[in-house]
Structures are given as C-alpha cells and as structure tokens.
C-alpha cells in the first residue's frame, strides 16, 4: 500500500509538471505583449522595458518556468496578478469556496435526484416513469447550461420573484452591504445549483439505470432470490451494492473536474468562482492568475483521482492495488 501511494505521488508530481509546462508554453506562443499592458497606456519604450524586466519576461522561457516552479514549491506563492497586482493566492482563496459551494452542493442535489430516478427507471423499464426519465435525460444532456441558466433566471428570478438572480452570498464573512450568512448563501445558490446539476443528474440517471439493469441480470442476484430473500434485500444488498460501485468513482472524478471551474453556471449567475475568474483573467491576458487556477485545478484533480482510486479499492474487494 505504501509503495502504491509513493508511486502514485511520484506520478502525480510528473503529471503536475507536464500540465504546467504545456500551459506555460501555450501562453508564450500566443502573440501578445503583457509588458505593454502592464505598463499602461501611454507608456514609452523605457517603461515598457522596465515593466518587462519587473515581470521577468526578458529571461529565457525555461528560466521563467523554473522561477515559477521554485516560487510555488518553496514559497507556496502563485505570484501576483498582472491585471491588478493582487496576490494570486488571495484571488484563488476567494474564488475557490464559491466554486466549491456550487459544485459540492450541486453534487449532493444531483445525486439525490439521480439515484432514485435511475433505480426506479431500471426497476420498471419501458414504463411511463422510465420513458419520462429518459426524456429528461435527453433534455438535460442536450440543453446548454447557459440556456438553462438564463431560462431559470428569467422564470424563477425575474418573472416569479422566487429567488435572486445573481450574486453570491458569503457564508461566513459577507462584505459590508452584501447579503450573508447560511440562509442567504443557500438562497442565492438555489438557481445555480439547479442549473449546474441538470447536466450531471441527466448523465447519472442514465448511468445508474444502465448499471442497475445490468446488475439485475447477474447470476448472484438470482442466487439471492433463490435463497428466499425479499426484494428489498435483493435490491439493497446485492443489486445496488454492485451497481453503484462505478458510480462512486465517477462521482469523485466529476467533482474533481468541476471544482476546476463550473464556467457556464458561474458566468450566468455572476458567481465569483474559479471559472469566472479564469475567464476574466484570460480576457485580460493575466497569465499568473490563469496559471494559478490551472495549478490549483490540477492539484485538485490529481488528489481527487487518487482518493477515488483508493476508495475503489476499499469498496470493491476484487481490486488489489498493484
């Protein structure tokens, strides 16, 4: 087990480098002059050169990359934004909880929706419920989150005044003049959660339904019935216990991915999360911030993947960590 962990961590480090190198290089292939932007309008050649030196852009790219990595590893410092000179660490520390609230809350809701519908559809294939669920799946997967978000915002927020349309209410420390506290936090997140969860709920309903149908046909389910077990035990202890195994791991990976930034939902509802932050930073050619989000997201995804692999070994006795 320890050997497995060490090996995974080494791979993780390699992966981290691979991702950051590629991203770093990509930005330098894009034609642009951040020094000019940084120096501001009306700057002369001298100022621009000084800006370039300040930003470290006059050094060769591998020196820049090396400094970048050194700064992260030694000082845990992601640098400063080229746009507003704010510490990237702070930017991310502010944005991450917003995305986390959206994603984790959304995940809880999408599972609460997907599991019962998926299981019931599987138990009554081709029934009205099943056909309704599959239609929902089709719509959920096809409709774009931005469209869904705008429709929801219009109907629930604007037309019927049921929920607020935009904005994020901080759970702990709202800025002065802004709504805050747990209730407002949840209230402001209702529409974003609903929008975010639809796509995933649809995907998971389909996956759970397929898994349950497949598991119902397994021989060991027939054995359980032959032992005289009531359907409730057959379902819980034999069918679901096996059918949900792949779902658990997919869940871990999807959450990990989404934590990198649920861009569409955050944009529609103006939530100051990682997604919106990175889009804005891209528009401003604010490399440190974008790299900061990439680094953060990479670490999160790697960690979640590792957790998911370990979890799978725990819940499925057939898996032996090689």
């Amino acid at each position: 087990m320890t050997r497995y962990l060490i090996r995974r961590i080494l791979w993780a480090i390699l992966l981290f480098f691979a991702v950051t190198v590629v991203s770093y290089i990509l930005f330098f292939i894009i034609p642009s002059d951040p020094a000019k932007q940084f120096a501001g309008k009306g700057a002369n050649a001298e100022t621009i050169a000084a800006a370039k030196h300040y930003l470290g852009l006059d050094r060769p790219i591998y020196i820049q990359y090396f400094n970048f990595v050194k700064r992260i590893v030694v000082h845990q410092d992601l640098g400063h934004s080229w746009y507003n000179r704010e510490s990237v660490n702070h930017i991310i520390a502010d944005a991450a909880p917003v995305t986390a609230s959206l994603v984790i809350g959304g995940a809880i809701f999408w599972m609460l929706l997907a599991v019962p519908i998926g299981v019931l559809s599987a138990l009554r294939p081709r029934s009205l419920l099943d056909r309704g669920a599959m239609t929902f799946v089709l719509i959920g997967i096809s409709a774009h989150p931005i469209w869904i978000g705008l429709i929801f915002a219009y109907l629930f927020g604007y037309r019927w005044h049921l929920t607020p349309i935009t904005n994020y209410a901080d759970f702990f420390n709202p800025p002065p003049g802004q709504p805050g506290g747990p209730v407002q936090w949840a209230y402001h997140l209702i529409l974003p959660w609903m929008t975010f969860m639809i796509l995933f709920a649809a995907l998971y309903v389909r996956m759970i339904r397929a898994n349950v149908i497949e598991t119902m046909n397994e021989d060991y389910v027939r054995t359980a019935r032959a032992k005289g077990a009531p359907e409730s035990i057959v379902l819980r202890s034999h069918v679901l216990r096996n059918a949900m195994l792949p779902v658990v791991t997919m869940l871990g990976m999807d959450i990990g991915l989404a934590l990198g930034g649920a861009i569409f939902t955050e944009t529609v509802y103006s939530l100051p999360g990682l997604g919106r932050t990175s889009v804005q930073a891209l528009n401003n050619y604010d490399i440190p911030t974008v790299m900061g989000v990439i680094v953060f997201a990479t670490i999160i995804i790697i960690v979640f993947n590792l957790v998911v692999d370990l979890l799978y070994a725990v819940i499925d006795p057939r898996i032996r960590l090689a």
Binding site: T223, A224, A226, K227, G228, A229, R241, D316, P317, R318
Partner: protein, 341 residues
C-alpha cells in the same frame, strides 16, 4: 404421497416475437430422499421447469399453469411471500456457473449467514457457527479462515462447494441442482457429484439433478425424465432407461456418447436442430429429426404410455411399435456400460 408432484406444468414467455412455450405440459414426481435426473439438450425446458417450481421466473413475462404440489400445496398458486418462505428453506437451488453465482463484494461467510438468517431466528454467532459447520462438511480446507474470504479468492470447484453449502444450510427437503458440474472440469465434477451423494445420505434430502450429461444421470439418479422441446419424451427408473431405452431421441443421446470398447471415426449425431418453441412442430415434436418417422408422427402427438414388459416405472412418448423399439433399444445399448453391467 410424493414430496413434489408436478402435473401438466406449463410456462409460456411473452416475447416481442410471440409466445415462447418453454415448458408445455410436464408431469413428474420426486420421492423423499430420492434423486430425479432431468435430461435434455439446451432449450428443452429443463431449467425453466425448475425455475417455475421455485417461482423464480420474471413475473412480468412468464405465465405458468398446471400444478407443482409441494407436500400437497400448489407452488404455482402461492403468494410471493409464501414462496419466499419455502425458497432456500425447504427447497434450495444451485446453479450452473459458480464463477458468477456468488456476490463478489460480500464475504463467503456473510452470504451463508444471510441464507440462514432469512429463515431461522437465531443469533448471528450461531448462524456463523452453522455456516462454518457446512463449509467443513462440503470439504473446504481451513474453513475457519476461508469463511471470511471473498468469492474471487476461491477456485471454481470450491465456489460450487460453497454454493452447495449455502443451499444445504437450512436442511432443505429438496435440492434442485441445475447443471452443477457443467462448468467444471471432469475431476472436479466427480468430486462434486460424490459430495452431493454423500450429503444426500447425511441430510436425507431429495435431489433434482438437471443435466445434459447422461454420465451424470447414470451416476446419481434413481429416476430419469428425458425432456425434448418442452415435453417429456421418456421417463422411468434409471435402470430401465439405460438398459432398455425406448425413444428415438434417447437412442440418439446414447449413440452420441463415445464407446470405451468400439473405435469409430465419427460419433453419431442426431441430425437437425432443436425446434423453435414459438412454433413447435405438429404432432410428435421430435419427428423432424427422427430416423424412424412415420406419417402418423407429423399428425398426432403420441401420449406418454407405459413400456410393455418393463420392471417398475417406464413410460415413453412414441408411435413406434414395441418390437421395433426393443430391437433398436438393444442396438443403442450395445457397447455402453449398461451392456457391461
């Protein structure tokens, strides 16, 4: 009164292509402590017959009629709850593929204990003790440690032993074994059959052994039923069937077995294919493949009539006259072990 009496049992399946008549009027009985062998090829209806008795068919697509009298009570008419009380308790069933018949995420001991606790009101530790006892009885070495292992840690033969243990854990009066040795190699097969016979002596349960292998039938059965195309074609005591088989299909089955003392280039086959159960043949269901077919065979189905001059039970469904049948019977038996014994 027999332990299990099956009368004109029918099971039809509703499918997109029509109604599949998987079991179309099957009658047999099983006596206490005896073994009934049900022989037939794939698709003959032997498995579905037993699944119907156990009530394990998909209720949405299967329609059953007829009677399956278990100690006088009709299983076909029972409610799901009453059936559940009998399943795994008075009647137990083991299946063909041991590799997939056990839940892979539960320990073996857990699965055995589940079988016990579903029907007996005892403590968990008492159930575990009983599970251990059964694992030892079926010959699992180091059962005390193995009881906490997962199914994937056992070989195929061991898993089948675990299945047998699981079936016997509540001392059933009837054990239905659906091709228990088909997925195992020959040596393991012999061990498992030996084990089953020994356990039958010890526990006193009756056994229904479903198989396509006549060797298995000869080894374990007291009575035999030969099924073809969802109907019984021949039935009787095992001695009668092997020494004096009376149905062309049975001759074909015996003929296809390799002989110990005769050398041949090709094994004889029964030409043709098993018939569709959506539209079974008119008249005798075997007539399209029968070498002795007569005009009457495609018109009327013969009844299951007693064989003249038989000692004990022996019935056959065939239009051929007894003399021809006796002649062909002798030919079919020639060179088999029945001749030797």
């Amino acid at each position: 009164m027999a332990l299990l009496e099956v009368n004109e049992l029918k099971t039809y399946f509703r499918t997109d292509d029509g109604i599949v008549k998987a079991v179309d009027g099957v009658t047999f009985s099983v006596e206490k402590g005896k073994t009934l062998g049900i022989v037939g090829e794939s698709g003959s209806g032997k498995s579905v017959t037993c699944l119907t008795i156990m009530g394990l068919n998909n209720r949405k697509v299967a329609i059953s009629s007829g009677q399956a009298l278990w100690k006088g009570n009709d299983l076909i008419q029972m409610s799901p709850k009453e059936l559940r009380d009998i399943r795994g308790n008075e009647i137990a069933m083991i299946f063909q593929d041991p590799m997939t018949s056990l839940n892979p995420v539960h320990k073996v001991g857990q699965q055995l204990t589940e079988a016990i606790l579903l029907h007996q009101d005892i403590t968990k530790s008492a159930a575990r003790a009983r599970s251990l006892e059964l694992l030892k009885a079926v010959g699992i070495p180091r059962a005390e440690t193995r009881i906490d292992d997962y199914p994937h840690q056992f070989s195929g033969g061991m898993r089948q032993r675990v299945m047998i243990a699981m079936a016997l854990v509540n001392n059933p009066d009837l054990l239905i074994a659906d091709e228990p040795t088909t997925a195992l190699d020959v040596t393991t097969q012999a061990q498992i059959l030996d084990l089953m016979k020994r356990l039958q002596d010890e526990f006193g349960s009756a056994i229904i052994m479903i198989t396509h292998d006549l060797g298995v039938v000869a080894e374990v059965a007291d009575d035999v039923v030969v099924m073809y195309a969802a109907r019984v074609q021949e039935e009787g005591e095992v001695r009668n069937l092997f020494q004096r088989p009376n149905h062309p299909y049975t001759w074909g089955l015996l003929g296809s077995l390799p002989r110990l003392h005769h050398e041949v280039d090709r094994l004889t086959q029964i030409h043709g294919q098993p018939p569709s159960l959506l539209f079974p043949p008119q008249g005798c269901r075997f007539h399209p493949r029968c070498s002795f077919v007569m005009p009457i065979c495609s018109q009327t189905e013969p009844g299951l009539d007693p064989v003249t001059g038989a000692q004990g039970v022996h019935r056959v469904r065939c239009h051929l006259d007894q003399d021809t049948r006796d002649r062909e019977s002798a030919k079919a038996v020639e060179g088999t072990l029945a001749e030797v014994s």
